[in-house]
């Protein structure tokens, strides 16, 4: 049992090391290759890619929230999909179809939003 434990954690450690290396590699490549030209706009705090708003009370486009909600829906879907992937082969067939129903409901939501013009940015 402890051995199995160690092997499982070995995988975690390995993933952590590889992940760390990958990030370091990316930063390093960036550091070596990127041109360096500073300008005023680059010094601003980063807010989702748009120029920072001058006032705290300025209006924010509702579409940010709609996209955020759509993103969240599929984010949560993934949370449910991971445990399902592990067990569905070993479980009764209904477990498989239940997830398909869940996905169909989410897909319906996406299509509904699409048809209602949620995905257009104007």
């Amino acid at each position: 049992m402890p051995q199995e434990y160690a092997i499982n954690y070995g995988a975690v450690v390995l993933a952590a090391i590889v992940g760390l290396m990958a990030v370091l590699f990316m930063f390093l490549t960036n550091y070596l290759l990127a041109p360096r030209r500073s300008s005023a706009i680059k010094g601003l705090p980063f807010e989702c890619g748009v120029p920072a708003a001058p006032f705290t009370w300025s209006q924010i486009n509702i579409r940010y929230y709609i996209f955020a909600i759509l993103f969240l829906v599929f984010d949560v879907e993934a949370v449910f999909l991971f445990p399902w992937v592990i067990i569905y082969l070993k479980s009764a067939p209904i477990v498989f179809y239940e997830m398909l129903v869940f996905l169909a409901i989410l897909l319906f939501g996406l299509l509904y939003g699409w048809k209602k013009g949620m995905l257009e940015w104007q």
Binding site: S91, A92, I94, I105, F108, Y112, K115, K116
Partner: protein, 486 residues
């Protein structure tokens, strides 16, 4: 892991499928056709109601080891909620057409909230109960702010969602405390843990108090009622009716099962707390209602007062009180639905919601004035109306459990409430209005109002069949030993 017989959840699946069908139809219909969806929803709900009654009758099972229960109790409430959904859809039809946009989403969201209520009545576990409660609440947040161009409706939505989030947090904190103390969230295991404890530990007491407070917010029980008048006033009228009736009945369906199946062994610890909550709620609701000049705010305070009466059923928890409570829910829903239907029918012709707008209604529409008067007499608890007999059942159950002072206070409060209900009747029958144009009521609304007037009288004069059904529902949530003495 055993495979669960999911076919027992067919009623919920069908309502959800109906909701999806309404959403899908909304996509492909031209805006003017979309009001047909009210007919689709109403007919669909009626069909599902009949099916549910036929399909679930006599079935008694619990799914996922007690997470969801299919029994007489949940059957009673499921049919109740479906019937309520039908009535709200009928009452909404011309209102939505006249004052609101996006009818497809309105009816779709309404149907989702019905699913939430149905699951609440069957939940046998705290987190399932919480999730179904949220399904109902989220739908209501959207519906409260449905009149998008009306700032008051927006205000109602914001207040409702903020207070709703707060109450959910309190409820969840209470659930986590109970889980910490007993190691389980299923109702029957909590009851078993409570029975085995020599002394109830403070953590468990705090947990139960927090759950009570969280549900108190949803019910608008004093001191957690601050949101109710503003939300009632701002929300579109049919939604106000839905919040005043649907959400209350659903919360009590959940609460009665929770307290009956889980917290009953510790009744000595929480009885006084609930009794005080009931006393405060009915007194504050009635006294503040005396000063209202806006119909919706008056109805808000009146419904707070009725929540106070209903909480007596929890404080005096016994099979008799449970029957009284469920019967009160039936009588209260029929009566309040009647009053709201009449007010909506009036509002559809004349969009004013101050009480003085009702002046001279007896001349302008004797039908609506008579229906409203019947509803108001019933709400105040006069004999021959539903309101009397349901109060009689509930209050006598309270005296049976030794809560004589609470029953006395409730009767005194009923007398106070008679005053402000009579003030409305005075407006309609004695005061005159310069405008004498008769008010015509549309066919669907007239049918709903007539059916509800009949219901209010039938419940008041011949309660036996209702009580029989309710007793069989009570039997499923109390242990057999308690039913023997009933």
């Amino acid at each position: 892991m055993p495979v669960v017989n999911l076919s027992l959840l067919l009623p919920e699946f069908l309502v959800a499928a109906l909701a999806f069908a309404v959403f899908a139809a909304d996509l492909f219909m031209r805006p003017r056709q979309r009001n047909v969806l009210s007919v689709v929803s109403a007919v669909g709900l009626v069909a599902i109601g009949v099916f549910t009654y036929w399909f679930l009758q006599g079935k008694s099972e619990s799914l996922y080891n007690g997470v969801l229960k299919i029994d007489n109790y949940s059957l009673f409430f499921k049919v109740f909620f479906l019937a309520m959904g039908v009535m709200i859809v009928i009452a909404s039809a011309s209102f939505v057409k006249q004052y609101l946009s996006h009818p497809g989403e309105y009816y779709g969201i309404l149907l989702f909230s019905v699913v939430g209520m149905m699951l609440m009545s069957g939940a046998g576990e705290l987190l399932t109960a919480y999730i179904s409660l949220e399904l109902l609440s989220f739908s209501l947040y959207i519906m409260a702010s449905y009149a998008r161009d009306n700032p008051k409706s927006n205000e109602a939505g914001i207040k409702y969602v903020l207070l709703g989030a707060l109450s959910s947090a309190i409820l969840l904190y209470g659930i986590s405390m109970i889980y910490g103390a007993t190691g389980t969230t299923t109702f029957s295991d909590i009851a078993a843990a409570l029975r085995n404890l020599d002394a109830v530990n403070p953590r468990l007491l705090i947990g139960m108090a927090l759950v009570l407070a969280g549900l108190g917010f949803k019910l608008a029980a004093v001191p957690f009622h601050m949101w109710a008048p503003d939300v009632y006033e701002g929300a579109p009228l049919p939604v106000t009716a839905y919040i005043a009736i649907g959400s209350k009945v659903a919360a009590f369906a959940l609460m009665l099962r929770l307290f009956g199946e889980a917290f009953l062994p510790a009744i000595d610890q929480w009885r006084m707390l609930v009794a005080i909550l009931a006393a405060l709620t009915m007194s504050v609701g009635n006294l503040v209602a005396l000063a209202q000049t806006n119909m919706k705010r008056l109805l808000a305070y009146s419904s707070i007062a009725h929540v106070g009466y209903l909480l007596i059923g929890i404080a005096a928890l016994s099979p008799m009180a449970s029957t009284g409570l469920m019967f009160y829910l039936v009588g209260y829903s029929a009566t309040n639905m009647l009053l709201f239907a009449a007010v909506i029918a009036f509002y559809n012709k004349e969009p004013r919601d101050d009480i003085s707008a009702l002046a001279g209604l007896a001349d302008r529409s004797p039908f609506l004035a008579g229906a409203m008067a019947a509803a108001l007499f019933s709400l105040s608890g006069l004999p021959f109306f539903a309101g009397f007999i349901v109060k009689f059942y509930l209050f006598s159950a309270a005296t049976h459990e030794g809560l004589l002072w609470l029953a006395g206070l409730a009767i005194f409060n009923s007398l106070v409430s008679l005053y402000y209900y009579l003030m409305i009747i005075k407006q309609m029958y004695i005061n005159q209005s310069p405008d004498k144009t008769p008010i015509r009521v549309s066919g669907g609304m007239a049918a709903l109002v007539i059916a509800l007037v009949i219901a209010v009288f039938v419940i008041g004069l011949y309660p036996a069949p209702f009580v029989d059904v309710i007793e069989s529902a009570t039997r499923t949530i109390f242990p057999a030993t308690m039913m023997a003495s009933y």
